[in-house]
């Protein structure tokens, strides 16, 4: 669209500046996490510690081992601190385990249940299908706060408060967004294909299991990916339903970690943020195409 060379040049400069702004918070996070505590307030824009050759040692201390109280070269006493992963009060490995439990159960449940429902909306003809699908779409507009309080009491009635169940059981009934996403995909599978299978004697379940699901692997991957992201990110759910730190997920655990340290040692906090963010960035790098295609299919056909 911008075909004049001058315009394109100006555009590129603006783009590079904006990208520098967008990427700086993450670089700042990483950079802070590699510095020892006493340098945080004095190092200014420096990307690495004053003594860059010690970067790995500081990283090891911040992320993992922590360090003991010591007296530095100039005779100043430096405080010791616990590393993120070996902290006595905050158990990130346990939070990771809890998060993975929720992720595995709810991703398996949401993919399977949403696919079944989506098949019912895409490939089975029944009276009232379209109005019911409109209701499914409408529920996407209902914000969580609107049902948060009664849902809490339903789980309390079931005795599930303080357990991980409220975080994954609802997903096993499918979610409106994912049913919508998979229905859009199933609709694109030619009707001839299922018709031929029917003539060959397959019933609906056979068509679903042997034809529709195998053809829909990319869409199922999108659902799994988005839901993993959702579980990793969810803060308000764990905040409401979990009341003991042994059951915390990573998101809630990170907040707990920050609240624990009144003085907020930024190097440790940024190390914890890096740890919780890194798996998602790796996931993105490995499945960039799935991500982008997923977002665009939902956006285009909305």
């Amino acid at each position: 669209m911008m075909d004049s060379p001058l315009l394109r040049y100006v555009g590129l400069v603006v783009l590079v500046i904006l990208c520098a702004v967008f990427v700086s918070p993450l670089l700042w996070m990483l950079s802070t996490s590699l510095k020892p505590q006493e340098e945080i307030k004095t190092s200014g824009f420096a990307a690495l510690p004053d003594n860059p050759s010690r970067t790995l040692q500081y990283a090891y201390e911040n992320y993992y081992a922590g360090r003991d109280k010591f007296v530095d070269d100039r005779g100043i006493e430096r405080t010791g601190y616990e590393g993120v992963l070996t902290s006595d009060n905050v158990h990130f490995i346990l939070y990771l385990r809890n998060t993975l439990i929720v992720a595995v159960f709810s991703v398996a449940g949401v993919v399977f249940a949403s696919a079944i429902c989506a098949y019912g909306f895409a490939k089975v003809a029944w009276p009232g299908r379209d109005p019911v699908f409109a209701v499914v779409l409408a529920t996407m507009m209902i914000p969580f706060p609107a049902v948060m309080i009664p849902t809490y009491f339903i789980f309390k009635f079931l005795g599930w408060i303080g357990t991980l169940a409220p975080l994954w059981v609802p997903a096993c009934f499918g979610t409106a967004f994912n049913i919508f996403l998979l229905r859009q995909f199933f609709m694109q599978i030619p009707g001839d294909l299922s018709e031929a299978a029917r003539i060959d004697g397959l019933n609906h379940w056979g068509i679903f299991w042997r034809i529709v699901l195998p053809l829909s692997r990319p869409a199922l991957a999108v659902v799994a990916l988005f839901h993993t992201m959702y579980v990793w990110n969810d803060y308000i759910g764990p905040l409401i339903y979990l009341n003991h730190q042994d059951t915390f997920t990573l998101a809630l655990g990170l907040q707990f970690y920050q609240a624990q340290h009144g003085g907020t040692p930024w190097n440790l906090l940024m190390a914890a943020c890096t740890l919780i963010t890194a798996p998602l960035l790796i996931l993105f790098v490995m499945s960039q195409r799935t991500f982008i295609e997923g977002i665009t299919t939902t956006g285009m056909k909305g």
Partner: protein, 302 residues
């Protein structure tokens, strides 16, 4: 699929087959949407502390609403936030999408940089930006200091908490950018060539070709934006609990959460969440209304 009329003898069987396929959603909808909404509709007219049985108090909660200064405060704060974050975020996302759609070197990298912030878990986003907004050692004030401006104490100054929250919201526009980019790639080149032949300037091509052609994507993002911006919770809750000085960044969902789970006034929290739901539905309905005049659907014309 063959569509049968509602009078067909098979329709009862078809209906049962259809309902069987969507039964996971039906059960989930009944248990986690319909039932909570009914309970909430009742609790909204009750006093309920979560321990003793709810006491029906009629319109008492509605009356409280009108005399509750905090309710009006969070309503005002959230409106201000929505009024700035959503339109400005939309403009920024459109600008970024147009820039990223140019044929310039390093396109894939620039696109990844804009998208990556949307992957960072919200709890980590909150902590990274607490550090960036730090009045003395934060990245922003260091940058301002480098050009001779003394930056405010962002999160500790009643005048600056809201601008800080709005500024932060721009960091995660990447989702919208991806959807706009997909829209831009669908705009037929012939339209630009025709506009060029007619002597349209770059700005005119943007205004009269690009924007109308991607208006369905803009509409989709605005509707999603309305729903999300009115629910903003995790980031301000972690960065400035209780809304900071003067409660100027105390948002609606934070208040609903506090009334319910900090003060155990579950009945009043329910009426608050109903008001929130109605606001979101009204704004969405307004967006749909305006879309009939402002959104251009290609399929509708050709």
């Amino acid at each position: 699929m063959i569509k049968r009329g509602p009078t067909s003898g098979h329709s009862a069987h078809d209906l049962l087959t259809g309902l069987a396929w969507i039964s996971p959603w039906l059960v989930g909808f009944a248990a986690f949407m319909f039932l909570p909404i009914c309970i909430s509709a009742y609790l909204a007219f009750c006093q309920f502390n979560g321990l003793r049985a709810p006491v029906f108090t009629g319109l008492e909660n509605v009356r409280t609403l009108f005399t509750d200064p905090t309710f009006w405060k969070v309503l005002k704060n959230t409106s201000i936030y929505a009024a700035f974050a959503l339109p400005l975020g939309t403009l920024l996302a459109l600008a970024l999408a147009v820039l990223l759609n140019m044929r310039v070197p390093g396109r894939t990298l620039w696109r990844a940089i804009i998208f990556v912030p949307t992957l960072v878990p919200l709890v980590a986003v909150a902590m990274i930006w607490m550090w960036i907004f730090n009045g003395r050692y934060g990245l922003i004030n260091m940058c301002l200091g480098a050009v001779g401006i003394e930056g405010p104490n962002w999160l500790g100054d009643a005048n600056w908490t809201m601008p800080a929250m709005i500024l932060l919201s721009f960091w995660t526009v990447g989702h919208a950018v991806v959807i706009y980019l997909a829209g831009l790639q669908d705009v037929p080149r012939a339209l630009y060539e025709a506009a060029h032949v007619d002597g349209a300037t770059a700005w005119q091509r943007l205004r009269f070709v690009t924007v109308p052609m991607i208006s369905p994507s803009i509409f989709f993002n605005v509707v999603i934006g309305i729903i999300f911006v009115w629910q903003v919770f995790a980031v301000p809750q972690i960065m400035i609990p209780n809304g900071g000085p003067g409660r100027n960044a105390y948002f609606y969902t934070m208040y609903v959460y506090d009334v319910a789970f900090e003060h155990q006034r579950f009945g009043y929290a329910c009426i608050l969440s109903w008001v929130q739901l109605f606001i979101i539905l009204a704004l969405t309905a307004l967006a749909f209304r305006l879309s009939k005049r402002l959104v251009f659907y290609r399929g509708a014309v050709t």
